[in-house]
């Protein structure tokens, strides 16, 4: 096709550097943040240890691998529990469960929270009222007592332990969407008034496409930050519930139910190797995720800095 105008006149307006996506720019800034990067390294190590480590362990969970209740030694680096199971192996397998619970709960919360938040912000009116009132109700109910009740119900109807972890994941995810929904809604409310949405409107796009392709991608920075922090929240909450015996229940190991060994006075005083390792894992993971979240916030959304 012929060119409509002479092109030389616009040469001066050319971009000087090669295209850099907003993501590349943000990632570069994150890389300069030493604290966030050390958090990232800790998390990567934690994932590697938990998911690869068990394959390198000479022991297996089903069989007794040594004498019971022995302290750390060359053959059992972190000792054994009262059933003679290797603590190191159990901590790693528990880590798989705890990290997975955190990730899945986050995904559930992000899926529900961003979708409902976007719908509320885009349609406003009664859609907004219904969704946000529901979110308000959920936010005003204290999470822990509710989860304790639900956990007790799960125990009462005797859900098998292996299915129970999925329920716990979804429950935790379902409890934490309202906060994200509020933030996304707020952003969509302002974004939908911007010129580029008017420009999308005149292209004849469907609502679905406008919401999911044009609006939500603009809220990804805030979603990433909230999602990251919510992984830590879910891991912590899972630990609390499991510690209380109503989250992930034995024989499925999780960091939380391993710490419940500390409930027993003798174990607490005499056998610290039972509960210190899972405690340290929870502590390190949660701190690491939180510093990554803060770093992401600084990199992705300069406006949110204090």
């Amino acid at each position: 096709m012929a060119q409509a105008v002479d092109t030389t006149s616009t040469n001066a307006e050319m971009p000087k550097t090669k295209p850099a996506s907003p993501w590349t720019l943000a990632f570069r800034q994150l890389r300069r943040n030493k604290i966030a990067m050390s958090g990232l390294i800790v998390i990567i190590m934690m994932f590697l240890i938990c998911f690869v480590g068990p394959f390198l362990s000479p022991y297996s969970l089903e069989t007794m691998s040594g004498p019971s209740n022995k302290g750390p030694s060359a053959s059992h680096w972190l000792g054994t529990d009262k059933l003679g199971r290797d603590i190191l192996l159990r901590v790693m397998l528990a880590g798989r469960i705890s990290l997975l619970v955190g990730l899945v709960a986050m995904m559930v919360s992000v899926a529900i929270g961003s979708t409902l938040g976007a719908l509320a912000g885009y349609y406003r009116g009664w859609v907004d009222t219904i969704i946000m009132r529901f979110a308000d109700i959920m936010l005003s109910i204290p999470a822990l007592p509710l989860l304790i009740i639900l956990g007790a119900v799960l125990s009462d109807i005797q859900v098998p332990p292996d299915q129970r972890i999925y329920l716990v994941m979804f429950l935790l995810g379902f409890m934490s969407w309202p906060g994200l929904a509020r933030l996304v809604r707020g952003q969509i409310l302002t974004l939908r008034e911007q010129e580029f949405m008017q420009a999308a409107e005149v292209l004849g796009l469907r609502d679905k496409r406008k919401i999911f392709r044009h609006l939500i991608p603009n809220t990804i920075p805030i979603i990433i930050v909230v999602a990251t922090l919510s992984v830590a929240g879910a891991i912590l909450m899972e630990s609390v519930l499991s510690y209380l015996g109503i989250g992930v229940v034995p024989p499925t190991p999780s960091w939380g139910n391993m710490i419940s060994a500390a409930n027993n006075l003798i174990d607490f005083k005499k056998r610290p190797w039972l509960w210190i390792p899972p405690g340290v894992c929870i502590f390190m993971t949660v701190i690491a995720i939180n510093v990554i979240g803060d770093g992401l916030r600084d990199a992705l959304d300069p406006k949110m800095k204090k």
């Binding site: 096709m1 012929a2 060119q3 409509a4 105008v5 002479d6 092109t7 030389t8 006149s9 616009t10 040469n11 307006e13 050319m14 971009p15 550097t17 090669k18 295209p19 850099a20 996506s21 907003p22 911007q194 010129e195 580029f196 008017q198 420009a199 999308a200 409107e201 005149v202 292209l203 004849g204 796009l205 469907r206 496409r209 044009h214 991608p217 603009n218 990804i220």
Partner: protein, 326 residues
């Protein structure tokens, strides 16, 4: 003579605000012919943008189009289903806006944004759309199109972004391009380039253009036909030469006097005294009467109808009515 592509018939769009009902578009009738550039002029707030958005059927609450017809190729757009209307938007009728800096979605590459209507309306594959997008970027006069295809909006200047907006608008070969003050936000040299581009598009693709502006310089350069709006009404309409040679309505005469003449120093720019009336409390009178130097008694008692005079010239003013002073 060319056929009417779009015809507004007694269009009414109202805004229900807390202060009362704003008749933003009040009984507006005019037509856009195929391949013609029609300019809509008037001071800010006179209903130009609302007229265009009514045509797109994108007036959002508290606004509502409540009367009249908008015929597109003889079919009333106001009666179409939303699904049919989506097919018109972006495909048959495209639109560009005043603010090129913020009219592109900041998180997508330029190429994705040009490809989108091609994929949606023309059913192209990603690859076909990319090829066509690069052609379009070249067409609107941006060199190194393949590189621009992979750029993000923040890497381009305002002038380039407006060219990209035009490329997006042209992607589906629309019959009508609505441009709502497309050069207002740009500096003068870039303005001239964008207007050039639009003129070339019109002559090459025979696209009709509805150009909204408050700048009579732009009108003189671009228009075939001009519609002058005041407080939600069409008060004068004529072919461009006729309008500039022989403006009838005192408001149009005022606008022409208000235009600065380039290379000619004026001690003070002429401005029409007074202000646009409060759009809520309009009665049965000439809306311009309190600013008009020719105001007569009938002007405050009765609204002048839009009558047709010689040379396809229409005006709504009692000065030209036989029964005017009666």
């Amino acid at each position: 003579m060319a056929n009417n592509l779009v015809e507004f018939r007694n269009l009414r769009t109202n805004f229900y605000t807390s202060g009362g009902v704003v008749k933003a578009v009040n009984d507006v009738s005019f037509a856009i012919k195929e391949g013609e550039t029609l300019c809509v002029v008037g001071e800010s707030g006179c209903g130009k943008s609302v007229t265009a958005m009514s045509l797109m059927r994108l007036v959002s609450p508290p606004g509502k189009t409540e009367g009249g017809q908008i015929l597109y190729n003889g079919e009333d757009l106001l009666t179409l289903k939303e699904r049919q209307m989506r097919h018109i938007r972006g495909n048959e009728i495209a639109m560009i806006f005043q603010e090129p800096m913020t009219s592109l979605n900041p998180v997508f590459k330029i190429g994705q944004q040009i490809s989108e209507p091609l994929i949606i309306h023309k059913g192209m594959t990603k690859k076909e759309a990319k090829k066509r997008s690069i052609e379009l970027i070249e067409l609107v006069g941006i060199p190194r199109a393949a590189q621009i295809f992979d750029s993000y909006p923040h890497e381009l200047s305002g002038g380039m972004r407006q060219r990209i907006m035009i490329a997006i608008a042209l992607s589906c070969d629309p019959k009508l391009l609505i441009a709502d003050e497309p050069t207002t936000a740009l500096d003068v040299t870039i303005q001239a380039q964008i207007l050039d581009l639009m003129r070339n598009i019109k002559s090459e693709f025979k696209t009709a253009i509805m150009l909204i502006t408050h700048d009579l310089g732009v009108v003189a350069e671009m228009a075939d036909h001009v519609v002058v709006m005041y407080a939600g009404k069409v008060i004068e309409e004529a072919p461009v030469h006729e309008l500039f040679r022989n403006p009838k309505h005192p408001y149009t005469q005022g606008l022409l006097r208000a235009k600065p003449i380039i290379n000619q120093r004026q001690s003070r720019l002429y401005t029409i005294p007074g202000q646009v009336p409060n759009p809520v409390s309009l009665g049965n009178n000439c809306y311009f009467n309190d600013r008009c130097e020719h105001c007569m008694s009938i002007c405050v008692d009765k609204q002048p109808p839009l009558n047709t005079y010689e040379n396809r010239h229409k005006a709504a003013c009692w000065l030209y009515e036989k029964g005017g002073e009666a």
